[in-house]
Amino acid sequence: MFTISQLFNYIQSDLGNIITYTIEHAQLVGLAILIAIIIGVPLGIYLTTNEELAETILQIASIFITIPSIALFGIMIPILSNIGQGIGFLPALIALVLYSQLPIIRNTYTAINNVDPNIRDAAKGIGMTNFQRLIKVEIPIGMPLIMAGVRTATVLNIGIGAIAAFIGSGGLGVLINSGISRGNTNMVMTGAIFVSILALIADFLLKWIQKKATPKGIQ
């Protein structure tokens, strides 16, 4: 039998571990998103200058996101085994970075492409270099959309990060996995609840960052 009070008892008794798993989970996702931004935003910006490549890359990224995460881990194990990293943190990180690319690249690409051509024209006509135009005008104007992509990727990654426990990356997935194998509903529930809480906190935090990063004039 499963009751709320039992759930609370379990959480209280195992709080130390639960918090460790949550922090592991956040670290994995946080690092993955950071790397994904560093790759995806410049790539998205670059693609606005190359229509054909943009179509190809976005297509590949859309196909990628449909690959079930379990399958992706399965594919990566033999490949990364070559460098002795078949399971653990690294394959999980790589998978999360890959899954983040579609929302981040697509939103960045769309954000920059959607800047009013008249504004772009004015920026050029005034004598801004391409880089100045990007930094001073296009990225600030595109910021809400770029950040929306980051938020989508983050929430997506927090979910997929739980599955990565299968390949030994740690995190809240550990609770869910061992809960299932031991038939411990409390553990499974706790894992699920903390994944959701993490997602809510991350989204809230990113919303706050988005608000800070978006220029006042376009809010």
Binding site: I119, A123, K124, G125, I126, K136, I141
Partner: protein, 325 residues
């Protein structure tokens, strides 16, 4: 000074947008590029600051060919105003206005003084608008900011593409007057695109009337109205071109033409008209009035004779028709 030397533009797909144009815009001159939609006005304008490449020929700005100059440097020395104002929504009004000085590395104090000066010029309180964003301003105010942004680093040359075209007629009229007054003071070399003959007549020192990428006539507004070179020009300026041309003359011109003498006699119960009124208004007054004559007075209220439709017709004959070849 802007010199166009055998300038042509062919877009991909073989659209010949500009066809062998030669013209010169002198220092301090206000020149209107006028013509129907699609005739190539915008293309010609954008070739000056190399937003469009030049297919053939050369354009020299202040004596230098745009081919010799770095386009970024060139553009920072040419003011550019577009119809949709192109203000940056993410920047405050002050940052928008001072973007070119900022790119040029002016210090804070110099930028602030310049901003205050320019805002005063267009009748906006600098402190009220400094921290506001473009979307918080009316269309007319945004367009004023667009104009002073182009003037920010005091460039000798300005390019304006239908800058007032999106404004409603009353606001447009007011901004046109405002801008003319500013131009009296700053004497920029201006190339200004318009498709509106009335705007062209009001604003331009000279008008280049364009059709399908070719210049049909490049002349003062008076010449264009009174001596259209060909069928296209006379059709474009309209059937009422003679009436339009009347707005370019004042009653004083008529007084000078007929050497009307001033006198001090008192005439009761007659309409009076100041000698600086345009002839177009004078005609309208005569047509409206029961009286068939109006007394002309100068600034000191000296009477200069009486104005009749008959007299205007004579003037018209001398000034307009008399010169016709």
């Amino acid at each position: 000074m802007i010199e166009f030397q055998n300038v042509s533009k062919v877009y991909q797909g073989d659209v010949k947008a500009i066809d062998d144009i030669n013209m010169t815009v002198n220092d301090g001159e206000f020149v209107i590029l006028l013509g129907p939609s699609g005739c190539g006005k915008t293309t010609l304008l954008r070739m000056v600051n190399v937003l469009e490449s030049i297919t053939e020929g050369d354009i020299r700005v202040q004596g230098k060919s745009s081919k010799e100059l770095n386009p970024i440097e060139l553009r920072r020395n040419i003011g550019y105003v577009i119809q949709s104002n192109g203000l940056f929504p993410n920047m405050t009004i002050e940052d928008n206005t001072m973007i070119v000085p900022d790119l040029l590395g002016w210090d804070r104090k110099k930028k602030r003084n310049r901003f205050n000066y320019l805002m005063d010029l267009v009748g906006l309180n600098p402190d009220d608008y400094r921290k506001r964003f473009p979307h918080e301003l009316s269309g007319g105010q945004q367009q004023r900011i667009g104009v002073i942004r182009a003037m920010a680093s005091d460039p000798p040359v300005m390019l304006m593409d239908e800058p007032f075209g999106a404004l409603d007629p009353i606001i447009r009229h007011r901004i046109q007057d405002e801008f003319l007054a500013i131009q009296q003071e700053v004497k920029k070399t201006i190339l200004f695109v318009s498709h509106d003959i009335d705007e062209a007549i009001r604003m331009g020192d000279r008008i280049a009337l364009i059709r399908e990428g070719k210049i049909m006539q490049y002349d003062t507004p008076t010449e264009i109205l009174t001596h259209p070179k060909n069928e296209f020009v006379s059709e474009f300026v309209g059937q009422d071109r003679v009436l339009k041309s009347m707005s370019l003359y004042s009653v004083q011109d008529l007084v000078d033409a007929f050497n009307l003498e001033s006198s001090k006699q008192e005439v009761a119960d007659t309409k009076m008209i100041h000698s600086d009124t345009s002839l177009r208004v004078a005609i309208s007054m005569l047509l409206n009035q029961e009286a068939d004559q109006i007394v002309i007075v100068d600034q000191q209220d000296n009477q200069l004779g009486s104005l009749t439709l008959n007299l205007i017709e004579k003037f018209l004959h001398r000034e307009v028709k008399g010169k016709e070849r």
